[in-house]
Symmetry: C2
Subunit: 304 residues, 2 copies
Amino acid sequence: MSLTVKILGCGSALPTTYRNASAQIVDHNGKLFLVDCAEYTQISMRKAGLRFTAVNNIFISHLHGDHYFGLFGLLSTFALSGRKQALVLHCPQQLKQMLTSEFSPVNIKELGFDVQFNILSDDGVNKIYEDKTFEAFSVPLRHRIPVWGFIFKEKMPLRNINKACIEKYKLSIAEIVSIKAGSDLYLEDGTTVPNKELTLDPPKPKSYAYISDTVCLPSTAGAVSGVDVLYHEATYEALLAERAKETFHCTTLQAAQTALDAGVGKLLLGHFSGRYQETDTLQKEAQTIFENTVCAYDGMELEI
Amino acid sequence: MSLTVKILGCGSALPTTYRNASAQIVDHNGKLFLVDCAEYTQISMRKAGLRFTAVNNIFISHLHGDHYFGLFGLLSTFALSGRKQALVLHCPQQLKQMLTSEFSPVNIKELGFDVQFNILSDDGVNKIYEDKTFEAFSVPLRHRIPVWGFIFKEKMPLRNINKACIEKYKLSIAEIVSIKAGSDLYLEDGTTVPNKELTLDPPKPKSYAYISDTVCLPSTAGAVSGVDVLYHEATYEALLAERAKETFHCTTLQAAQTALDAGVGKLLLGHFSGRYQETDTLQKEAQTIFENTVCAYDGMELEI
């Protein structure tokens, strides 16, 4: 089981020569989940060697251009590349309205593949994606327009069977499957071997949360409680708290406090204002509250 | 008087790691005319140190994404940067419909500056821009959707006065202005000094044409006749003429034949298919018909 985050862009709205705007890939065992899709995302994906066909789910946090203006090009490229497999867009209602309107930049009826819209809900934390081993949730945040964060979680894996027990009890395939799922073993002499004597703890499921863009919200810490890695926007340094408030963004210290309150494993700062070419100071500021903080950078790969 | 073309992108639709899609700057004495605006144009402009405020006219050839998907981000950035000056979009009708529709990616009513639409006409070559020293024309081309090329021309400058004559005839300011505009000089003794004895030829006005995307059209050579530099799409090598025809594009040899027929000074090839990382072969092919051919590359600056 492998869960990796690949940062394609961690800048904010104004373009810079040293950082792309928001886009990242959550890679779960080779399935790629694209989170936000700023201009240049398709080219960053090419540069990172990420296969377009491995992306079947795109999550758009909100409709500010630095989070989705790359979507038109990416959808067009999917079409030009002959894509047939369906794509799910987890997104605000307005994006569906835009893409299905008469004057949409891309005509989704003529792409050659099906685009399914999973409209994000304002009503608390919601499961928006699920497969056998992985799930994703949306979390309403607060910005100048409707915005959501996303949480990605591996499901609790089946328990690992203790191989010595297979031989000892001459376990059948059916018994092994049942024990891995949590059953005890019932022997012919009427005794019961408890599951925990037959199995080993599975690896802890991994989790990741993406929180951008938002004001500092008390509810965020609860929603992302205990995740292994929290990506949190830190558009501004602490000194610019007033500017952060005016623009509905967070400072380093607010991000760090959320990480602390949520008891996450690691804090990954991002969505930096263009005024910060170097981010060392931002990292140090956050570390005064939450030690295990690192700053994202374009091209970063973080295995969770 | 200076006229320079700056190539921001000269690739075609499918994204590559080595070439951006179509965008270029025509720089006339510091006034910047943006021609097409693919994704990443605003960042390329930043990298090239081109001032956003020097752009007051944007020319969009057609509505395939690799020619205009960077416009949404650029307009948003103009707004975020506090732009107040009006912007003219010389573009197909459908772009106006898109940008003024309810679900447009950018709300042009809230940009903070005026966007004026100059809708391109199907009816022959039309003057679409003019200032004291420079003008631009649209040229209908033929592609899978409506498309136009653009011609940029310096106006014929005033004649340069021969400085020795100022002293010799004790010319007044009014007389100098009149002579520069082409008048003869009438002396008090009734004789006339012809203008050509008082003035020197001004520098030849410079001109540039942008032709992309199109099938090979006989009418193009007439429209761009005699320009100093012709940028012409050459999406494919000659061997792929059938593919070029199917996709409504040109080959190297077709571009070169147009340059030859038009009697241009120099041919600049561009809009290369992603299959060509190196363009030496394309250049050599075109040179078999039109010797003074060069291939564009991202970052190229060509003084005309």
